[in-house]
Symmetry: C2
C-alpha cells in the first residue's frame, strides 16, 4: 500500500502521517538526511528546492527554500534534536511565511520485508497553527513529495 495516511483529529495540535515505500530503510534514511537526495523529492512537484544549510546532527541547523515558476520563494528552517537515526529523526520546523510558529517533527522508519513504513508525527504550539498547516494544502505537497521519493528510491536502487 503506497497510499498516504494522514490523521489530524479535531481539537488536537498534531498531525500524524504514514506512508510505505518499496526500499530498505537505510536507503530511505539516506534520502531523509543527505541534502543532495532530499532536494530531489521533498515538497510539491511544481516547486524546486534549494538547500541553504542542512546539518543532520544534534543542534545542527537546516534551512531550505521552495521556489515556484515565478521565482517566489518559500523559506523553512529548524534545528535537529539529537543525531538523526532511522529509529528517530527529530527536528523543529518553522515556515518563514508565518514566523514564530514552530512545530516539532519526528520521523521514524520501520523496516518490513525489505520495504519501509515511514511514520511522521508533527506537534504544533496550538490547534490554530495546526489547522493553518492543514488549510495550506500541505497534504497535496506531502503526497507529491512521497511520489517523488518513490521515483528517487527507484533510481537509487537501479544505480546500486
Amino acid at each position: 500500500m503506497n497510499e498516504l495516511t494522514i490523521d489530524a483529529p479535531a481539537g488536537v495540535p498534531q498531525i500524524t502521517m504514514r506512508r510505505e515505500v518499496h526500499a530498505p530503510r537505510e536507503l530511505v534514511f539516506r534520502a531523509f538526511t543527505e541534502p543532495d537526495l532530499l532536494k530531489q523529492w521533498l515538497g510539491p512537484r511544481r516547486l524546486t528546492m534549494e538547500i541553504d544549510r542542512f546539518e543532520a546532527r544534534d543542534g545542527g541547523r537546516w534551512r531550505y527554500l521552495h521556489r515556484d515558476e515565478d521565482g517566489t520563494e518559500y523559506g523553512f528552517h529548524g534545528v535537529f534534536h539529537g543525531d538523526p537515526t532511522p529509529d528517530q529523526m527529530v527536528q523543529t520546523f518553522e515556515f518563514e511565511g508565518a514566523p514564530g510558529h514552530v512545530s516539532l517533527d519526528t520521523a521514524r522508519l520501520e523496516e518490513r520485508d525489505g520495504r519501509t513504513i515511514i511514520h511522521m508525527n508533527s506537534v504544533f504550539q496550538s490547534v490554530e497553527a495546526r489547522d493553518a498547516m492543514v488549510a495550506s494544502g500541505m497534504a497535496d505537497g506531502v503526497r507529491e513529495g512521497f511520489e517523488q521519493l518513490d521515483e528517487l528510491l527507484g533510481r537509487l536502487a537501479t544505480v546500486g
Copy 2:
C-alpha cells in the same frame, strides 16, 4: 496573583502554564537565559542543579543535571530553535530517564505594569508522553521552581 496555573486537557498532548512574577521582563529573561541565574531557581527545592552546557542561541544545545541528597542524578537536554527573546524562547526538551521522548517548549514573557506574566507551552509527541510528564509530579517541581525564581528576582532587584 502569584498562583501557578497549569492546564493539561485530557486527550491533548500539551501542557500550558502561566505564572506572574513581580519583576520587569528583562530581568526575568536574564533568569531564563543566563546559566548562573537559571541554576538558582529551576526545579524542585530538594534538588541541586548543575549546568553541563547552556548555549542560548539558534541551534545551541543545553544540558543540565538535577541531583538529589543521595547523589542520584536526573539529566535533561535539548536544543534552542531560534535565538531566544523575551517574546519567544523555543527549545526542545528530553528527560534522559525516558530517552527518545521529546517535547517542544515555548516560553513567552508578557510585561504588565512592571510585572511579568510568564506563559509556558509544552507540546509532546503523544498524549501518553504528556500524561507521563504530568504523573511524574512535575507540577510540584514547577511550583517550587517559581518560588525560587521569586526569591532570585528579589535578590537581583536589591543588588541592582
